[in-house]
């Protein structure tokens, strides 16, 4: 095949690249929705059951903390392989976007929970006293003080997490998950298609830069 040496003509690159970008965006989008929905409460729970939190509980804290560490202790590729039976159980398949979403979400939740915990820990402890002393319930304090004061830090955490998920989506490309990673590995690497490889790299770099730039702007706007 001549394509092996010549690579995809530049004019045809967008036809491959754009759907792949769409798949990456879809994968990261779904994963981030799951990550925020589960990682945010988990992070708040880890902080608030810790000694400086609103409901200190050593046992609960140690248990959730251990689970969160579990999700972060394995390299993503290993985690992905290790939980194949679980993935099959949940989505019924071990390849494709659906299958990638499960390990990506697990790793993402564990990562985001830690970021949330750190963001909330940065709030001066007196502010929690303010909430308690002015008659706030714990739930009111979480909503009106912790989430409000930590918002810039949470936005920064979200940015970091989105970028990490783009990276994971590329790794997930190895199990045929589609997206830019799949394209780069299957065309760029295995078929020596330099044009595709270079396009993927440039697109990923631009994507990450744009997300980081946007995230930084949001953080600045949110901080007073």
């Amino acid at each position: 095949m001549t394509a092996l040496v010549l690579g995809t003509p530049w004019g045809e690159v967008p036809d491959l690249l754009l759907p792949a970008l769409g798949e990456t965006a879809l994968m990261v989008g779904i994963v981030m929705a799951i990550v925020v929905a589960l990682g945010l409460p988990l992070g708040l729970l880890i902080f608030n059951t810790s000694p400086g939190g609103l409901a200190p509980n050593r046992t609960v804290n140690a248990s959730i903390s251990w689970i969160a560490n579990l999700g972060r202790s394995l390299p993503f590729l290993v985690l992905m392989a290790a939980i194949i039976p679980f993935t099959r159980f949940v989505v019924g398949t071990t390849i494709g976007i659906q299958a990638a979403i499960i390990p990506m979400s697990l790793a993402g939740i564990a990562f985001f929970a830690r970021l949330v915990e750190n963001a909330v820990r940065e709030i001066p402890p007196e502010l929690l006293d303010v909430g308690l002393a002015t008659g706030g319930s714990r739930w009111q304090i979480v909503r009106s003080i912790q989430l409000v004061e930590a918002l810039p830090a949470l936005a920064a955490a979200l940015t970091l997490n989105v970028i990490a998920m783009i990276e994971y989506s590329a790794i997930a490309g190895a199990i045929g998950a589609g997206g830019l990673g799949y394209l780069a590995v299957n065309y760029g690497y295995q078929q020596f298609d330099d044009n595709i490889m270079i396009s993927c790299i440039v697109l990923l770099v631009v994507l990450v830069q744009v997300i980081q730039f946007t995230g930084d702007r949001v953080v600045r706007v949110l901080s007073h």
């Binding site: 006293d129 004061e149 918002l151 901080s223």
Partner: protein, 334 residues
């Protein structure tokens, strides 16, 4: 009214507060003073039950707090406004939103809330800064917002934990005027935790000296400042430094202006048949009274008891000064 009775707080083997008994009557301003590490902040945190006392009771307006359930405690805390050190405002909320926080917790409607917040900001003179963020306010302005927030639930008791520390003298003065106004206009009972003696002298009706977790001295400020030999009175009104005189014996005198005849110095001198040298003197207001303090030199040949009696007859409390008294004054408490 705040009544603290037999209050003890321990962390493991460390006792931070040890048998505190203290009472503040309605519409009084009380000050708790003491060196850092004496347990002042722990005491403040025990009063609004941010810390559970190990033993003892805290009674605020006839409600005993230590026995309350979590739910009732939330309600009881609303009667105690707290002004925190350096205001502790939420950075991402405007002044008005910060003041509104306790009212939101209470579940007030937006319309009611706006009205109340307006009143509160007006009371602390910050209406024109309602939409400013804390970062755009000065330390004194932030503290005013902190006080407005403390008053939001119309508490009968206001707890102020080092509210003026770190403020410049003008800002301190205006915050203290504000506190005095709250006592006089609204009848709020105020407990001030401070290490600044100026604050005690300016606003307090009663004072307690906390050291190593115990109250070592307490009383009405007006009474304390008349005591000639107490650490607290020396700390409240330190004597001015006086030059040493070889032929004279140094005495420290103290009087309240309402208890003496203005001609006391000449009279005491005449009785002793000697000229009394005034080495240093200060008259200041403390606890709503003019209090005078002098360091005088009296002929060393005279009998100490006779001198003390001559001063006592004029209504003056006198004590022989010893070396190092002046340094003692300065280090006594703060």
């Amino acid at each position: 009214m705040i009544e603290i009775s037999g209050l003890t707080k321990s962390y493991g083997a460390t006792t931070v507060l040890d048998g505190i008994d203290f009472r503040v009557d309605d519409a009084q301003i009380a000050a708790i003073v003491g060196p850092s590490g004496a347990g002042k902040s722990t005491l403040a945190r025990c009063i609004n039950l941010l810390e559970r006392p190990t033993t003892g009771t805290i009674t605020v307006d006839d409600r005993e707090l230590t026995s309350l359930s979590r739910r009732d405690l939330r309600d009881a805390r609303r009667q105690i406004g707290t002004v925190f050190q350096s205001a502790s405002l939420l950075r991402r909320l405007t002044a008005a939103q910060n003041v509104a926080l306790p009212l939101r917790y209470l579940g007030l409607s937006d319309a009611e809330l706006r009205l109340r917040v307006r009143d509160l900001l007006d009371r602390v003179g910050m209406l024109h800064r309602a939409n400013h963020y804390p970062a755009q306010l000065s330390g004194g302005q932030r503290q005013r917002i902190g006080i407005a927030r403390g008053l939001a639930l119309q508490p009968s008791v206001l707890l102020s934990d080092e509210a003026t520390s770190g403020l410049d003298p003008d800002a301190t003065r205006s915050i203290l005027d504000l506190l005095t106004g709250l006592r006089d206009d609204l009848g709020v009972t105020i407990l001030v935790i401070t290490h600044e003696m100026d604050v005690v002298r300016t606003v307090a009706d009663v004072v307690a000296h906390l050291d190593h977790g115990r109250i070592v001295e307490s009383g009405a400020v007006a009474d304390v400042v008349r005591r000639s030999d107490s650490t607290l009175s020396r700390a409240l009104l330190p004597l001015p430094p006086a030059p040493a005189e070889d032929t004279l014996r140094t005495w420290r005198l103290r009087y309240a202006a309402d208890a003496i005849d203005p001609r006391w110095l000449a009279r005491a001198g005449r009785e002793l048949g000697t000229d009394i040298a005034v080495l240093a003197a200060l008259v200041e207001e403390a606890g709503h009274e003019q209090v005078g303090r002098l360091t005088v030199g009296v002929d060393a040949g005279l009998d100490d008891r006779r001198v003390a009696e001559a001063f006592a007859r004029q209504g003056i409390r006198a004590a022989r000064a010893t070396d190092g008294d002046v340094e003692l004054d300065e280090q006594a408490i703060a």
